[in-house]
Amino acid sequence: MAPKKLRVLLDRFECLKDPCDLDLLLFFYRHPRAFLISERLAAYVGYDRPQVVQSLEVLITARLLRRSPDSTHPARLYVLTPGSTLGGWLSSLLRFAATRDGRLAVIHALKQRQSSRPSAGPEAEPSRTLEHFHGG
């Protein structure tokens, strides 16, 4: 995929900022319905648990992922729920990122996107929801 095309594709997923966001998405692309504790999820994707917990919140807030509500259970059910308007784009992105080169290219593009933005603290970061990106 050409870098420009990738940037256009990523523009539709402005919620994605960190490589962990992408890797979690990739994990759920291969395991669209997973019933796991967060520690195990962290082990599967290879990040620290706090980072994974933060990325999970990103994906859930962006409505790319649904999580079973009952937090009294040790494990939670995660279901990949690509929004109807973004489903096709998400599949394109994840198919591309499913290869080693593709994943590295997406991570590189994410880093570039982050560095090209004016620096701002997390508190200044706008809400990372899809509605925001849709202008909703």
């Binding site: 291969r30 395991h31 319905r33 997973a34 019933f35 259970h73 040790p74 494990a75 059910l77």
Partner: protein, 505 residues
């Protein structure tokens, strides 16, 4: 007594050995070592349920990623993604620990997910011996798991990893708790491997005991073949009685007179002789005669591929292809290498049941012997089963058998101890006269019919086939009574010096 509510697996041949299916709600354990086909069986159980019996299902995976499972299922033509889209299937990836803990909870998220699509079937792949949460026995842990599944009235199939090949000596505790156990095995046979499935136990219904062969067939899934030796319907045994008034003509000029007008309908005839003695020619004429009379005829060949059979038939003036094209003849060839006898028999059963032949030829019995070995019971059991099948369907059948002895025979069947199962035996021999081997035919046995056991000369004419030559002898032939010989039971009796003769009338 009420009929049990049986869940059909939908797997070809498996419901047959389960006598219709598995009682609903049973906990089914599928045990086997790696590569025995547990995952394929379980996924097919859920797939067929959703697709063919309107019973949605759920698959629980611990190690295999769902996308790989979906990819592999596609090789069998099972579109799991489509079933998911139609909300007839859910595939959940989890860990054994999370699964075990969850099923113990009254408000199980997993079971709620299953209930959301009205799941009736569940397949759990890759279960290993469970650890009891409080340090108790694995058997108790499995019992608790089973109770959790019972609450939802799911028919659950659990694939249990087994490292043992002989469960009799190493029974997993789960096996005592499960309602149904299917044991899958893969064993080496010569340099090939043979897959088999055994219903070790199944509560609440009857099933066929023993190990049955199965295959994993690309584009389809599992195909289970009931073991040849397993008893069939009692109707099959009753079929052994044949109608003594109907005759089936042999198609060999001159032979019908020697067999009292033909073979009985549904009788079993063995044609024994060395290679080149004319057995296959006789078979072709038997089939062609049936077709000429408008009968459906089946020819099963293990020795010669179809093109060769067609060529042979052509050489004696029979257009076999035309008979096939007319639908009168079904020619079925299976190479004998690495023959799986349960599968082979199931295929013959299917052909007989669908094509409904009136005549059949099997060429040859000796090839089965080479594949199955004649020392053990396998060959005899197979032959017994095929004779019963043909009799049940009233098929008059001729079996060719190659006897390796070139001149004369010291025994009709050699190591093949099956002559008691056949009704008629025709011996084909070479007779050396001068510098020529000539064809000789002797009707050695005709069950329920008189036979002269006289040796007759035959000839095979290019473009015409075989015929039994007339015996042009007229007048009296001296017939010497037994008392005129010494060593009658030996293979070379001698005439006494002084003949005690009498003359034929």
């Amino acid at each position: 007594m009420p009929e049990p509510d049986l869940v059909k697996t939908g797997i070809k041949g498996l419901d047959e050995i389960l006598f219709g299916g598995i009682p609903r709600g049973n906990i089914i354990l599928v045990a086997g070592t790696a590569g025995t086909g547990k995952t394929t069986l379980g996924v097919e159980f859920v797939y067929r349920g959703a697709r063919e019996f309107n019973e949605p299902g759920m698959i629980i995976l611990f190690e295999v990623a769902p996308d790989k499972l979906i990819r592999d299922a596609a090789l069998f033509g099972w579109d799991l993604r489509e079933l998911e889209r139609e909300r007839r299937l859910k595939i959940v990836f989890t860990t054994r620990q999370a699964f075990q803990q969850e099923l113990l909870r009254a408000d199980s998220v997993l079971l709620a997910e299953a209930a959301e699509i009205g799941a009736r079937r569940l397949f759990v792949d890759g279960l290993v011996r469970l650890a009891e949460p409080n340090g108790g026995e694995p058997r108790e842990a499995f019992h608790l798991l089973a109770e959790g599944l019972h609450r939802e009235n799911l028919t659950a199939m659990l694939a249990l990893e087994s490292t043992f090949d002989h469960p009799a000596t190493a029974r997993a505790p789960e096996e005592f708790v499960a309602d149904t156990i299917l044991k899958l095995s893969i064993e080496p046979v010569q340099r090939a491997v043979l897959r088999s499935v055994e219903v070790v136990k199944s509560r609440g219904h009857e099933y066929a005991l023993g190990r049955h062969s199965f295959r994993i067939v690309n584009g389809h899934g599992l195909e289970v073949y009931r073991r040849v030796q397993a008893p069939r319907s009692s109707q099959r045994e009753r079929g052994a009685a044949f109608d003594p008034t109907s005759r089936v003509t042999t198609g060999i000029p001159g032979l019908d007179e020697l067999v009292n007008g033909g073979y009985f309908v549904a009788s079993t005839t063995l044609v024994v002789g060395i290679s080149g003695a004319g057995k296959s020619v006789m078979s072709l004429q038997f089939i062609a005669e049936g077709a000429r009379r408008g009968e459906r005829c089946l020819m099963i060949t293990l020795d010669e591929p179809p093109a060769q059979v067609l060529r042979n038939a052509h050489s004696i003036g029979i257009d076999f292809q035309a008979l096939i094209d007319k639908g009168l003849v079904h020619l079925w060839y299976e190479p004998p290498q690495e023959m799986e006898i349960d599968r082979h028999f199931a295929q013959i059963e299917a052909i007989v049941e669908s094509f409904k032949p009136q005549r059949a030829v099997i060429d040859s019995l000796s090839t089965y012997g080479s594949s199955l070995g004649v020392a053990e019971r396998g060959f005899r059991d197979f032959f017994h089963a095929i004779v019963a099948l043909m009799k049940e369907h009233q098929v008059t059948t001729v079996y060719n058998h190659e006897n390796p002895e070139m001149l004369g025979m010291s025994s009709m069947m050699g190591e093949f101890k099956v002559s008691s199962l056949v009704d008629n035996i025709i011996l084909m021999n070479w007779v050396e006269l001068g510098d020529t081997f000539r064809h000789a035919l002797t009707v050695a046995k005709m069950r329920a019919m008189p036979t002269s056991r006289t040796t007759h000369e035959c000839e095979i004419v290019n473009g015409q086939g075989m015929r039994v030559l007339p015996r042009p002898l007229t007048g009296a032939l001296p017939v010497v009574p037994f008392a005129g010989y010494l060593g009658l039971i030996s293979r070379a009796p001698e005439r006494r010096g002084q003949q005690v003769g009498r003359t034929d009338p």
